[in-house]
Symmetry: C3
């Protein structure tokens, strides 16, 4: 499908400058765009590419309205406009409606007739699958689990028994929702398992990345509030609460019972220890371990700066004696003061 | 089901104080408990909740026997008692016995008649599935693999060929046991794969978390001893040995041929380099990389302390010059001593 | 099967010393080898084991040709020779050719008649499976995805729609190729999803470990060049490019649009931030976060050295005041110089 700039602006808003009849098939980066593409400038860093791009049209911010004379759509936030246009130009594929041959749906499960259940998917007793859900191949929906409407589970997602998923969720392959939390108690030299009888409860408009794991609660529930976005390979332990609209990058680990605020942004491979509280609007840098609660919005970090291995070896050794170094400086200050006293 | 305190104590031990006829349906936290729940105090931190809890009964330690006048069970270790009671009140669901329609079991595989093999599970040639095993949907048991008794594989667990699992194992969804170790040799500018012909051998009473991976040995086996507890998303490389009753939190990575002692506790996202030896009873803090063997029981750490990003930037820059700073202090000490000499 | 040393050398090269008629069944470590095994010395560390090994024969380097009088094969690189011999002695098992009962292959998919598609595997519309591919149980090949020849997908691998895999790939269980990249834009307090319309394109001879995830590109493709070796649980974000023959150990995270050079080696749990460029032949130590582009080949590190928790506590606290410490030293130098001046 192709649309003219004028048709696009009629659909999505924005102001057309130049020839509104130019036809666009797809979005693209300025660097790769061809005549049938619309490019966009959302980052000053790429401004020089405006001069060389082969794009047939552009999405520009108000400040850059005259930075090119190509056919263009002017809008407040070019990145958001691009996102909306890309969704418009790339609609989700259609999935066959109904329970497909080769799917296993328990007799007591409730599947809305508009839902799509693929071959090799399994839906257990008492589970509820809402309208327009897409359950792809190899997915498993445990007993009594409840999925809202328009939930899309990519192939091989596991939802354990009794978990509750809201509306418009997207869950990518290999994600596991509701596995047992890591609850053990030492008893006479052996670990005793603590049954994990809570659930995972997930709000609306959450997206969960590939191979991410979210453990069910030990007694109370693990809760992911609405609008949370989780990247791949994240581990969320039992009884964690992640506040609404928080975005977490890949490989992050959040230990048990931590409570993360709303609108937080957590960088890749970061970690949060158990039972901590993180305020709203906190940003945590990649690779940073948070070991105490954070009560104030703001940006936090704990990253060891890299260098050549040779330099690293030379410098890192002192970390094991930093206290001694600090004591030496204290002692030097004292002795110098004393020396200065004798001079005075 | 509901039980009186007296019935519970008859089953699990402990001393009943107050009305032994009060009926309990479920365990709960002090904060969330209602009349049909029994709460427990296992952590001083929550002691103040004894005054306000709505729990119908309590589990208390000897020292707290009189800290409430609610009906209560007094026991030596309230947390362990709670764990046992929770298991009593929340028995595993029943799984249908036998090979279910839609399961694929090879002709030469041996499945004990008391085992449960779900639809879409696959059991390959020569595999052995012991008594009372539960193999849920989408699991794969490779050729010649052997599972003991009472092994529970949640949906979508993969056990590669020839691996050996003990009795009473629990393995959560997405775990992969026996994938090839990362064995490669550089030969004339290309990596040559080294066949991984060892197995994974796992002892009794091990629990393995969701999406955890355990590679098969290169030549000898990778070994997980009895009673080991592994959380989610752990990576255990080829030829590692994890000692009995060691507990490892989520996202830990253990490199090839490392040998971990018994009764160790390893915090989340920690790492252990290859070929190291870790003594028994070692505790490793979250996020800490262990780069040398540890011969002594004890607690070890390597965590960069977090701060605001602004403070971090100000301080971290000096890490790259720590050696220079240390040299400066040495020089200052020398010059000060010389100066003090001239004063004397 | 067993082979004489002479037969092995005829097949794989190398010079036989001692009795060439000794029969070998399997490769083994010097420590575990018995009479039917051939051991190898590839690491000086194990040289003392030459005296005690029970191996029936040995693989030795030229320099060690006379270090044992057992029957032996002398070769330039004993580790590579061992790798080749192990592959010779341990051929891949045979998989049943054709689409097996219980596999779901869409009508418009193209499966080469020499390929093996296992029960519970799913191949979607328009997908292409090349000659001699092995698609094991529970795998999912998305619509229009293309697999070259001799691709081996272990059980439960997911390849999303439109992704392109080269020849001779090995992908281990739980790996996910082509899941959506983490692309979101904040719009009036809510995250808007940015459609991920790029693909993952993977070159020849790549191996991908268990539960590794590789996201599809946002607009352009994510690219893994030929000969790349990826261990388990690696996360590769959208639009990353990994250069040919680079080897990446377990649990590494590579953020969006990073470009990694050829022949790099990245240690376990390391990380690379988004949009960085890493030169060819760069080595990155385990657990190190790379926060700026690296333009020079070489070895880089950023590891906090571990110690006992007690020592760690004592030392780490000063990291938060390292700038103050550095200022103090500067001040001391100044004051000392001034004091020295008054002395002169």
């Amino acid at each position: 499908m192709a649309y003219t700039l004028a048709e696009i602006a009629a659909q999505l808003g924005g102001r057309v400058l130049g020839d509104g009849s130019v036809r666009i098939q797809q979005v693209a980066t300025l660097e790769k765009a061809q005549a049938q593409h619309i490019g966009f400038l959302a980052n000053r860093k790429y401004q020089s590419q405006l001069a060389t791009t082969q794009a047939g049209a552009l999405i520009l911010g108000e400040a850059d309205a005259d930075a090119s004379d190509k056919p263009r759509i002017i809008t407040e936030d070019p990145y958001v406009y691009f996102a909306r246009l890309s969704a418009f130009l790339n609609p989700e594929p259609q999935y066959p409606v109904g329970v497909q041959p080769g799917a296993y749906v328990a007799a007591s499960a409730t599947v809305h007739p508009s839902a799509s259940i693929a071959a090799t998917a399994v839906v257990e007793e008492g589970a509820v699958i809402g309208a327009h859900c897409v359950i792809e191949a190899g997915c498993f929906i445990g007993a009594q689990a409840v999925l809202g409407e328009h939930v899309h589970l990519y192939p091989r997602v596991v939802v354990y028994h009794h978990c509750v998923l809201g509306n418009r969720l997207i869950v990518h392959s290999g994600a596991v929702i509701g596995s047992d939390g890591f609850g053990i108690a030492m008893e006479e030299g052996r670990w005793r398992k603590i049954p994990q009888i809570g659930r995972v409860v997930i709000g609306d408009d959450v997206e969960i990345g590939a191979n991410t794991t979210i453990d069910r609660g030990a007694l109370d529930d693990t809760v992911i509030e609405e609008g949370v976005k989780l990247d791949n390979q994240i581990q969320i332990a039992h009884n964690v609460r992640v506040g609404a609209h928080t975005a977490i990058a890949g490989c992050v680990g959040i230990a048990g019972s931590a409570v993360i605020g709303k609108y937080c942004r957590i960088g890749g491979s970061a970690g949060i220890l158990g039972h901590l509280q993180i305020a709203d609007h906190v940003e945590i840098a990649a690779f940073s371990l948070i070991g105490k609660s954070i009560r104030q919005a703001g940006s936090y970090a704990a990253i060891y700066p890299f260098s050549t291995s040779e330099e690293w070896r030379k410098n890192a050794v002192h970390l094991r004696h930093l206290d001694t170094l600090a004591q030496k400086v204290k002692q030097l200050e004292k002795e110098l003061k004393s020396l200065q006293g004798t001079q005075a």
